[in-house]
């Protein structure tokens, strides 16, 4: 059986729905020894800011039951460096490039988007959900009015389609997703990490130097699935679903819940070949379950009851 894995997001064709999630895959280069980058649906690069950022002090990672907490704090070399030094490397591969952009102010987002206007990247991912920075980040992503404003402003400057990346740390994710769509978002990605904390009982200290961090990995998969499903009921733009994906079946679950493509994050830290392993398992699932075209799965959840 010939499998069709191709999906389309905002008019851009992805050879398969598996995208390496931002912050867990460097600029791709770091993984090239382990993964044929040409096999990936796409790569979301490490979150960029207008100027280089040092990031937070170590320790920046803690292990929690079936999860991890990170507090990297957007360490990155800045958007100019990315365009000049990293992008040329990435462009050697036949995969879709998603640029994850972060600002302290709406103006910063817009200036970054300006810089990226004439650069051959495929999608812009507006990160308004980083829990590890003092300014901007998650604070933007929790207020529907701000989400609307920021999306609208960025869209006015952007040439590439704009995906808005949502934080799960909100009372009503639907409201936020609707605000992004109204603001002109071409797509929505979710979820970013859940704000959490780990404590060392013996030392009586937080494990992370930054005290709190972002929870990711399989532990949050049920939260992510619920939010993808909720959002898919209220928006019509495509969704990139993520949160705890480590197997091919996990991908299927997100597609059934309404995602058109998925992000794989923490799994890359567990094993550098994770994206490829997951892709293989996805094909295995399709073969075993007679799914010829992956698009059959998108939004294919059969829901009978439920009050939500």
């Amino acid at each position: 059986m010939k499998l069709h894995l191709n999906v389309e997001i905002c008019g851009i064709s992805f050879k398969n729905p598996v995208i390496a999630a931002s912050g867990t895959f460097g600029f791709g280069r770091e993984y090239a020894r382990y993964v044929d980058l040409n096999m990936l649906g796409g790569i979301a690069v490490k979150g960029l800011t207008l100027s280089p950022r040092k990031g937070n002090p170590p320790p920046r990672i803690a292990e929690t039951p079936s999860g991890i907490l990170n507090s990297v704090g957007l360490q990155n070399p800045g958007v100019d460096y990315f365009i000049e030094e990293e992008l040329p490397e990435l462009l050697k591969y036949d995969t879709r490039i998603i640029v994850n952009i972060n600002g302290n102010t709406i103006d910063e987002y817009c200036r970054m988007v300006e810089k990226l206007r004439d650069v051959p990247v495929h999608l812009l991912e507006l990160n308004i959900s980083c829990p590890n920075v003092k300014q901007g980040g998650m604070a933007f992503g929790t207020d529907p009015n701000v989400v609307y404003d920021i999306t609208r402003s960025v869209k006015a400057h952007a040439r590439q389609p704009v995906i808005v990346k949502l934080t799960p740390n909100v009372t009503d994710i639907k409201e936020i997703a609707i605000a992004a769509e109204k603001g002109g978002a071409d797509g929505i990605s979710l979820i970013n990490t859940v704000l959490g904390m780990a404590i060392d009982a013996k030392k009586r200290r937080p494990v992370l130097a930054n005290v709190v961090g972002g929870l990711s990995g399989p532990a949050i998969k049920p939260i992510a699935l619920r939010m993808v499903w909720e959002v898919s009921q209220v928006v019509s733009v495509p969704i990139i679903g993520m949160g705890g994906i480590t197997t091919g079946e996990d991908v299927v679950e997100f597609l059934l819940a309404g995602a058109t493509a998925v992000g794989v994050g923490t799994a890359n830290l567990m094993s550098p070949t994770a994206c490829i392993d997951i892709l293989n398992q996805l094909e295995e699932y399709m073969l075993q379950n007679g799914v010829r075209d992956i698009n059959e799965l998108i939004g294919g959840l059969e829901v009978k009851g439920g009050f939500c």
């Binding site: 912050g23 867990t24 895959f25 460097g26 770091e30 993984y31 020894r33 382990y34 490490k46 040092k54 990031g55 002090p57 170590p58 320790p59 920046r60 990672i61 803690a62 292990e63 039951p65 079936s66 999860g67 991890i68 990170n70 990297v72 360490q75 030392k203 130097a209 990995g217 399989p218 923490t266 890359n268 830290l269 567990m270 094993s271 550098p272």
Partner: protein, 251 residues
């Protein structure tokens, strides 16, 4: 300390002293992160790779309970190890606690390269000492210190180092151990103007440079610092580059 060996021709053939392997904890799927463990030694002919580790938490406990013949998922060799060459005529190697683990491989290579090696190893007590015969075999001089004097001389390994430096200055020093020890080594290297390489530890994610969680503070030319990756830019750094106060003090 537990010693464990596994077969990987790839790692055995490609490893350099100071590099590490990144080990998936088997069986318990609630533990997501691999554990970084230094390469204790390799046998390129047989593909045998040795590690030596202390049980500190869940991951190392599970590892320590594995049986011969079981399969283990290991990524490596990773990181930038010690910079060594045949030019090194004399070296001092300083190890503290489980920081001794990567030094066996180093000492052996230095010796095989023709250098004179003085090894200074510090332990909590007699029970914590391990691999003495191996170090005796590959070093020209070996000094042991224990905190309680139950073996070798009583005191800190850095006190032994200062004594040694007063006697003669080596071409280079290599150190691995807890941060307080490294701080003293760093100061002594500066005082005595001996080039010094130190191996750092930090909590890791990917182990291959992609996630930026394993940071250590490295001086920049403008007097400021930047965070580098212990997994990829290290774990071994030149001691004068490292800002140890910024590093985690937990190890």
């Amino acid at each position: 300390m537990y010693k464990m060996a596994f077969i990987s021709s790839y790692i055995a053939l490609n490893a350099h002293p100071g590099q590490f392997v990144h080990i998936k904890v088997p069986y318990d799927n609630s533990l997501l992160l691999r554990r970084p463990i230094s390469i204790h030694d390799v046998h390129p002919q047989t593909g045998r790779v040795e590690i030596a580790y202390r049980v500190v938490g869940k991951g190392t406990r599970i590892l320590s309970r594995m049986n011969a013949g079981q399969i283990i998922d290991v990524l490596g060799p990773l990181g930038k190890g010690f910079t060594i060459s045949r030019e090194i005529k004399s070296a001092i190697v300083i190890g503290g606690g489980c920081g001794v683990a990567p030094l066996k491989f180093l000492v052996r290579c230095l010796k095989e390269g023709g250098g004179a090696v003085t090894a200074l190893l510090g332990f909590r007590n007699r029970e914590a000492v391990y691999e003495l015969d191996e170090f005796e075999r590959f070093s020209d001089q070996l000094f042991i210190t224990t905190d309680d004097g139950s073996l070798g001389s009583k005191g800190l390994v850095t006190q032994a180092l200062e004594k040694e430096l007063r006697k003669h200055l080596p071409d280079v020093m290599f150190a691995c151990g807890p941060v307080p020890m490294l701080k003293v080594v760093q100061r002594l290297a500066k005082e005595y103007s001996v080039p010094c390489q130190i191996s750092l530890e930090e909590r890791m994610g990917c182990g291959i440079g992609g996630c930026l969680v394993c940071s250590c503070a490295i001086r920049t030319s403008d007097g400021d610092f930047e965070y580098k990756r212990v997994c990829q830019d290290g774990p071994v750094f030149w001691s004068q580059e490292v800002l140890l106060d910024e590093a985690a003090l937990e190890c």
